[in-house]
């Protein structure tokens, strides 16, 4: 059961804090601060003295001075944990009084993986709502890092109220396989930033249709699956079309196709006071076209008093849901979408990219229903390169049952699978 944190009931003033942990987290945060007007307080925590001194964050903690002497953890989460234990008091003071804490970290290394669970625990103890936004490493970074990330993620799940988990593998693949490295990273970071700021808006804003906290947590609680995320902003004429186009074009939705796999979806619309019910209905209609019929949809609408604020839509979901319609059913429903959506009027005043991508999707899936990516998770099985794990059975005939080498300890294989 989910309990409401007390502070959200009466208090109107919410104070959010973004904590960036480790090099990856700080990189993301720096990009955010440099590129946008950042709406919340920021705190950078790292073991690496050099990275701390260069960051743009408003508050900085160089943790584990005694443990690491400011030289980083060398990728060992245990050192990361020791370091955060050493600086726990300092971190606790910095977190004090905040009701929403976002923890942004790249898992797989030493500081992020080692420290994030404890930081989450500290924040939780302070009574804050803890939302972790984490990335898991690329598969080419090796099995060890993947394992460290998985362990850490499980730990974080225990303390965080919600987890937004992005798989680097998937992001890089979906964004553009041939893009420049720097570009890929900047798109990834931007996505993470958008996710953080939309979540912050969802949690803090009030409106005619508020998103209840349990609803949001229900969407984000299952950390094992990676999340779907898309958002868009637009203003002026045809804002509905523009905003939908950008939101659905988000790489993590794979042009809206992945929405099919979402078991639960949270859509948050925020706009100026001029936002009409018709606009809301139109946005929802377009989004539900891409959804599987059994998906659970949560809608939130908030209106700001400011007339000039843009219309923005955030779509957050979790892929690999339990509800998966069979492909044949999908194909038939898609065909009906096709006939319905074809005569939808196109905005005439928009010369560039008049082909809104969400109109293309049903066509593509209807014609090639089998070519639809079945599982959005990109998992590359790794060769067991570690020679020590067979131990005393090293030189004798292996026990292979159903393709698995059972001489390798079960607990090791189980952890790798997860």
């Amino acid at each position: 059961m989910i309990t409401y944190p007390r502070y959200l009931a009466g208090q109107s003033e919410t104070q959010s804090l973004l904590i960036a942990l480790g090099n990856a987290g700080i990189n993301i945060m720096d990009r955010l601060i440099a590129q946008t007007a950042f709406p919340m307080e920021s705190l950078a925590i790292n073991t690496d003295q050099q990275s701390i001194s260069n960051t743009l964050a408003s508050n900085k903690i160089s943790m584990g001075q005694m443990t690491t002497h400011g030289l980083g953890t060398g990728g060992d989460p245990e050192i990361g944990l020791d370091a955060v234990k050493e600086s726990a008091g300092e971190i606790q003071r910095a977190i004090g009084g905040k009701n929403i804490v976002f923890i942004c970290a790249g898992l797989g290394g030493g500081t992020g993986s080692g420290a994030a669970p404890l930081v989450a625990e500290l924040a939780k103890q302070n009574g804050a709502l803890v939302i972790a936004v984490v990335t898991s490493p690329f598969s080419f970074e090796g099995r060890r890092r993947a394992q460290q990330a998985a362990t850490s993620l499980r730990e974080i799940t225990r303390f965080a109220d919600a987890i937004l988990h992005f798989e680097n593998d998937r992001m890089a693949e979906l964004i553009a396989p041939h893009a420049e490295v720097g570009e890929t990273f900047s798109v990834c970071d931007k996505l993470l930033f958008r996710a953080i700021s939309s979540l912050n808006r969802i949690v803090t804003s009030h409106g005619p249709i508020p998103v209840s906290l349990p609803d949001m947590l229900a969407v984000l609680r299952h950390s094992e699956d990676s999340c779907l995320f898309g958002c868009g902003e637009a203003a002026g004429e045809d804002r509905v079309h523009h905003v939908l186009e950008t939101a659905l074009r988000s790489p993590l939705l794979d042009r809206g196709r992945l929405l099919h796999d979402a078991g639960r979806l949270l859509v948050h619309i925020s706009g100026p006071s001029s936002l009409s019910m018709e606009e809301v209905a139109e946005i929802m209609k377009e989004i539900s076209k891409n959804l599987s019929p059994s998906a659970m949809l949560n809608l939130g609408v908030s209106v700001s008093q400011d007339h000039s604020s843009p219309l923005s839509v955030a779509i957050i979901g979790r892929c690999g849901g339990e509800k998966r319609a069979t492909p044949t059913i999908k194909a038939s429903t898609d065909l009906s979408y096709l006939t319905q959506s074809a005569p939808t009027p196109q905005p005439a005043s928009k010369p560039q990219q008049t082909e809104a991508p969400f109109f293309e999707i049903p066509v593509a899936t209807a014609v090639h229903p089998t070519e639809k990516p079945a599982a959005p998770k990109v998992q590359q099985p790794l060769l067991p390169l570690d020679p020590v794990t067979r131990g005393r059975f090293d030189k004798i005939e292996p026990t292979i049952v159903e393709g698995e080498d059972l001489d390798v300890p079960t607990f090791l294989r189980m952890k790798l699978k997860k």
Binding site: V388, T389, G391, R392, F393, I396, E397, T399, V401, E402, L406, D407, P409, T410, F411, L412, M414
Partner: protein, 404 residues
Amino acid sequence: MAREKIHVGLEIGTTKVCAVVAECRRDGEVRLLGVGESPSRGVRKGEIVDFQNASNCVHDALSDAEERSDHEIKSVWLAVTGSHIESSNHRRSVTIEGGGEITEKEIEDIASKDKEVSLPKDNDILHSILQQYYVDGREGVIDPIGIGGSKLEADYHIIHGVVNRIQSTIRCVRKIGIDVEDVVVNSVASAQIILDDQKKASGVVVIDIGGGVTDYIVYHNGVVRQSGVIAIGGDHITNDLCIGLRIPITRAEKLKIEEGSASLENLSGAEKITLKNDTGFSGKEIDRSMLNHIIHSRLHELFGILRNRIQDVVPIHLLGSGIILTGGCSLIKGVREVAESVFEVPVHFAHAQSVTGPTSAFDNPQLSTCIGLVKYAHAVDTDYPQESFLNRFINSITRKLHLI
């Protein structure tokens, strides 16, 4: 009281070699005369990898048994196991000639059709166990002699293994001048002593988790339906602990026996086990929860594989007598709870039935195979009185020559 024929059962296990000397009374009761044991060396996963060492161990165990039982051992019944041992079910048929009445000749004919079973090139049949007869397609014929019909069919459960690998185990015993009467697959031997007819009829699985391998045999409606070997055993748990807790293998073995538990209940998370320092090993503190998790995941996986294999032939919920665990690993705490959670039927520990003698021996699950061997020997003896393995072989050949 005149002594009945004395049999010796020998098992060359991965952890230890044990020999049981026992006499089998006419009423089927087995009386233990002596048990000889020796820690095993040169055996991995139930098969010999170091011939000389293993042979010495066999010698030690047999002389120990001789000493305790005051009986000179000339020949033994040998238990064999190993991942190469496989099983399958076959149906074969003969047409009934003559007056349409089934006679002993047809029964012999159908029993001698073992050669027709297609096996891998290196394999040979170890056991060919009758499941049931069909007369003209009619099921459930228990004894077809005297029944009229035109076609006799029979289902057989065939257990086969790689000849060379079994030969090496036999050679290991022959080397020290002891004859081998016959070889019996572990699971078949264990079932002899653990199961009674009522259990076999209601359906039961015997799982013998030994040091190197796990043998299992499934009975349903009174007949063997499935049997096999999975090369996972206590050694694997020890190895898992050695890797997972980073302790030497000898300490891991000791820890497994003294503290090992597969139970995940009542784990506080903070409980520590202190390993005292030893020569070449400076002490260490170990998490109780880590220890239990490692053992639990290994056993859980093993039972999962077994469940899938059993499910292939018999739905598990139809096994009225549930699961019976035996073998050294069944001594680990919490193993029964793990098994129950996987199989979802009652799980019991084996009690050797109808055995008298030193009580410590027949309550020990590590000995069930050896005692079973004696019982098997007795059963064979009753069927073929006064015939040794060689004689039976010669007889079967002469019988075949006769037919030609």
